[in-house]
């Protein structure tokens, strides 16, 4: 039987972020075991529940389906990989630069707030930069598999702070991992999210 849900490919080679602080091994486990594992489990659920077939993972998230955790982790991880790039890092550009300066005062201030949120999150979860209903950028946290979209927030950037995201490379040093994240941020993707209409 053909799988209903698929695992999108990584946007870049698995070893291309190593020089920026995310090793090939870290990415291999994260993508091929965790991200792929959620897809496998969701497809297993779809075998037993025909009504899931033809739905998108965002449909399942919005519907708060029983498979929410799986669907949301699939969506969140796909978004996360796209937030990173071997050509990423540096300061924000374009609309992102303007919005960040307008809503936080400076990139450094946003970076500190986001890093504090990521570093301070207790347990498994995600740190986000989101656009709220008034189109203002805010730092947001979700716990476990949480996704901001059903709350009316449009994600523009995320950092995975489940321990599996950093334990191979950084062990307990989450702060060091979050610091390295800034070397890889794909500002083109962030700008594309800002330009997109809401889901």
């Amino acid at each position: 039987m053909a799988a209903t849900f698929s695992l999108p490919p990584l946007p870049w080679p698995a070893d291309s972020l190593a020089s920026k602080g995310m090793s090939a091994e870290q990415i291999d486990f994260h993508y091929n075991k965790h991200h792929k594992g959620y897809v496998t489990k969701l497809n297993a659920a779809a075998e037993k529940r025909p009504e899931l077939r033809g739905k998108s993972v965002m449909d399942l998230i919005q519907a708060k389906d029983a498979t929410y955790n799986l669907a949301s982790q699939i969506w969140n991880h796909t978004f996360f990989w796209n937030c990173l790039s071997p050509n990423g890092g540096g300061a924000p550009t374009g609309a992102a630069k303007q919005a960040i300066e307008r809503d936080f005062g400076s990139f450094d201030k946003m970076k500190k707030q986001f890093s504090d949120a990521a570093g301070g999150h207790f347990g498994s979860g995600w740190a986000w930069l989101v656009q709220d209903k008034n189109n203002r950028l805010k730092v947001h946290q979700t716990h476990d598999a949480g996704n901001p979209i059903p709350d009316g927030l449009k994600p523009v950037l995320t950092c995975d702070v489940w321990e599996h995201a950093f334990y191979i490379d950084y062990r307990n040093d989450k702060a060091k991992y979050v610091n390295s994240f800034w070397n890889m941020v794909n500002w083109d993707f962030v700008n594309a999210q800002l330009a997109n209409s809401r889901l």
């Binding site: 486990f29 075991k33 965790h34 594992g37 955790n69 207790f122 347990g123 498994s124 716990h143 476990d144 598999a145 489940w162 321990e163 599996h164 334990y167 191979i168 062990r171 307990n172």
Partner: protein, 211 residues
């Protein structure tokens, strides 16, 4: 690994609410749990929670000194609940394991497990399944209801702990946070759950059990 940490750990005992040392050497639980895992887990994670709670008590909450963990895990501040819960849970976890552990329980506890689960094998399967199934960070416990004496498997999320309920007696626990198994098992949590049963300290469990 060196044994200096044990002396450092004893120094913690002198602080306010106290933090017990690791009950054994870092190498005690190998190969099920490596010395590397134990050193990160105790020295960084467990000790980290203790340091944070101590700093908080010193700067903002002097009332915490002298409080029991039972009180702190139901504190008005979520931060206190989280740190205290994790300090308590980790201590209970170390004690739940031993390098000479494994096998099966005996005596009254063994009989009660058979009574409440059907068999030890059935209990073990259910416990391992709970570890594998727990989504996100958390703990799996064998607990006993103090009133009706019944045993049950309980999952707590994040820093959650059965001692928040005065009616529950914890018997053993398994840490299901990723930091507990990622060095040795990577994503293979079911393999970790299976290996955990090779080192369960049934003597500790028997001491906790209310006959």
């Amino acid at each position: 690994m060196n044994t200096v940490k044990r002396t450092v750990s004893r120094a913690f005992m002198a602080r306010s609410f106290g933090m017990p040392p690791l009950p054994y050497e870092y190498s005690e639980l190998a190969p099920v749990i490596s010395a590397e895992t134990l050193s990160f887990h105790y020295d960084k994670h467990h000790t980290g929670y203790f340091n944070k709670l101590t700093a908080h008590a010193e700067s903002k909450r002097p009332d915490l000194k002298g409080k029991s963990y039972e009180d702190m895990v139901v504190d008005q501040e979520k931060f206190v609940q989280n740190q205290a819960g994790q300090i308590y849970n980790h201590d209970f976890y170390w004690k739940s394991m031993s390098g000479t552990g494994g096998g099966e329980p005996t005596g009254a506890l063994a009989a009660k497990i058979a009574e409440d689960f059907g068999s030890f094998g059935e209990f073990k399967s259910q416990f391992q399944a709970a570890v594998g199934a727990h989504f996100g960070s958390g703990w799996v416990w064998l607990v006993q209801d103090k009133l009706n004496k019944k045993l049950a498997i309980m999952q707590t999320h994040d820093a959650g702990t059965p001692i928040a309920d005065p009616n529950l007696q914890p018997i053993i626990t398994c840490d299901a946070w990723e930091h507990a198994f990622y060095i040795d098992y990577r994503n293979d949590k079911p393999k970790y759950a299976e290996a955990y049963f090779k080192i369960v300290n049934w003597d500790f469990a028997a001491k906790n059990y209310i006959a």
